[in-house]
Every structure is written in structure tokens, then in C-alpha cells.
Subunit: 138 residues, 2 copies
């Protein structure tokens, strides 16, 4: 296999591996990674609601999917959706108290997994990794 292919596969494989570990950590909370991300963004709003637009900007996925991810969070009672009174095109998403409780629990579990992985690298290696990844995308 050629050098460039090997490195690309390494990035894929690692990302996939990390995703699996985080998904496993979220399993007791019964939420997916995208659902966790939405909850985390909403919690960061500190009580204020967020439009779909705002949520979308901070997620990797496309807008059209954000609607459906939120549908599932509503089914679970973790968020609430209301039409924005100032601009009725917009929709405001609120996190519920159940949602806050769950995202706190989930964050602890995810942070533990992340730390365990990152601790395998020196701080120099972490810097190098971040620099290389950013260059790859540029």
C-alpha cells in the first residue's frame, strides 16, 4: 500500500475507533453521539434557547439532519421545540431539566474516555497531532 493511502486509512480507522469508544460510553445514557452534541450545545447556552441554525453551525452534519436528531431528543423528553415569536421562520430549542441532568452524566463519561486516550500522548505529540490534522484539512 502506498504511503498516502496508509496515512489516510490511519486517520479513518482512528476516528472510527474513537467514535466507537465514545458511543459505548454514551450507551448507558441511551443517546447517540449527534444527540449528545446537540445537548452539549444547548447546555452551553446557559438557559437561553438556540435556533436550529445556531446548533447546525456547531455540528458536522447538515441542517436537514439536525431537525430529525432533535425529533428524537423531543421523543425522549430531553429538549423542547417552540416557534420563535420574533421571527416565525426560526425555531427555538430548549433543553429540559431532564436533558441537563443527562448531558451532565454523559459528559463525565465521555471526558473520562477522552482523557484516557489523550494521556497516551505527550503534550508535544498532542501539539504535533493537532498541527498535522489541521494542515491536512487546509
Amino acid at each position: 500500500m502506498q504511503d498516502h493511502t496508509r496515512t489516510v486509512i490511519n486517520v479513518f480507522y482512528t476516528a472510527h475507533n474513537i467514535e466507537n469508544k465514545i458511543a459505548d460510553a454514551l450507551k448507558p445514557c441511551d443517546i447517540s453521539i449527534p444527540q449528545f452534541n446537540v445537548l452539549r450545545i444547548l447546555k452551553g447556552q446557559k438557559g437561553h434557547p438556540a435556533n436550529l441554525c445556531t446548533i447546525q453551525e456547531r455540528m458536522i452534519a447538515k441542517m436537514s439532519n439536525t431537525t430529525r436528531i432533535i425529533d428524537r431528543l423531543i421523543d425522549k423528553g430531553l429538549v423542547r421545540r417552540e416557534q420563535c415569536p420574533q421571527n416565525r421562520r426560526k425555531v427555538e430549542i430548549f433543553i429540559t431539566s431532564e436533558g441537563v441532568e443527562l448531558v451532565d452524566q454523559a459528559s463525565t463519561a465521555v471526558a473520562a474516555v477522552e482523557k484516557e486516550m489523550i494521556n497516551k500522548l505527550t503534550s508535544g505529540e498532542i501539539d504535533g497531532l493537532n498541527t498535522a490534522l489541521t494542515k491536512l484539512r487546509s
Copy 2:
């Protein structure tokens, strides 16, 4: 945001970005990345067929999904499926001449994208990246 979270997101974001670039390169060939991977494995068999098992081992996806990915390649006339005469539980997958032609074309396009990205890094950076990624998974 904490350091470990930032690095994990960087890996995700980069992997996603690379996937998008490769998927775009495959668009003219009208195949997805998993479909391309199956074709590449079959071409590597150099004329011999491969069981689902064998294909599965070299892919990230689960067995159950490999069946359906191959269904789509059959629809496009790129591969053929036959029951293995020695062990009728097994299924042999053959690549067609149309499949070989397409995978050659696709490989060229993908390799170009990969090279363009990797060329942004020095060979030292590539080594460091590979080492760091492998450590992350270990």
C-alpha cells in the same frame, strides 16, 4: 473547551473532511466509499473470487451491511454473486470486467486526492501523525 476534547474533535473533523473529499472524487464514478472498498478488495484477488467473510475482514463495516453493499454493486453490474460449491453456506463474489474498469478509474481519482493532502505534510510530520494516531487507538 478542554485539551482532550479539542484533539478528539480535531480527529473527527479531519476524518470527516477527508471522507467528503474522497466521496466527491468518487462521484463521477457513481459509487460510494464502501462500494469502492469492496471493488478494490476484489480487484486485489487477481481473478479469484472472495467470500463475504474475506471481504468483511478487510472492511470496517459489519457482515450484515456487506451483504447489502454488494447488492448495490450487483445492481450496477460491477460484481457477480455465486454459491460456493465446496461450502454452500459461503458465497463467492466475482468482480466483472466493468467493475475492474471502474475501480481503476476510481483508484486514480482517489489517489490524486490523497496525494494532494499528504503533500501538505513533511515526511517527519507524516511519521509523527501515524505514530500519534496509532498510540491513540492502542
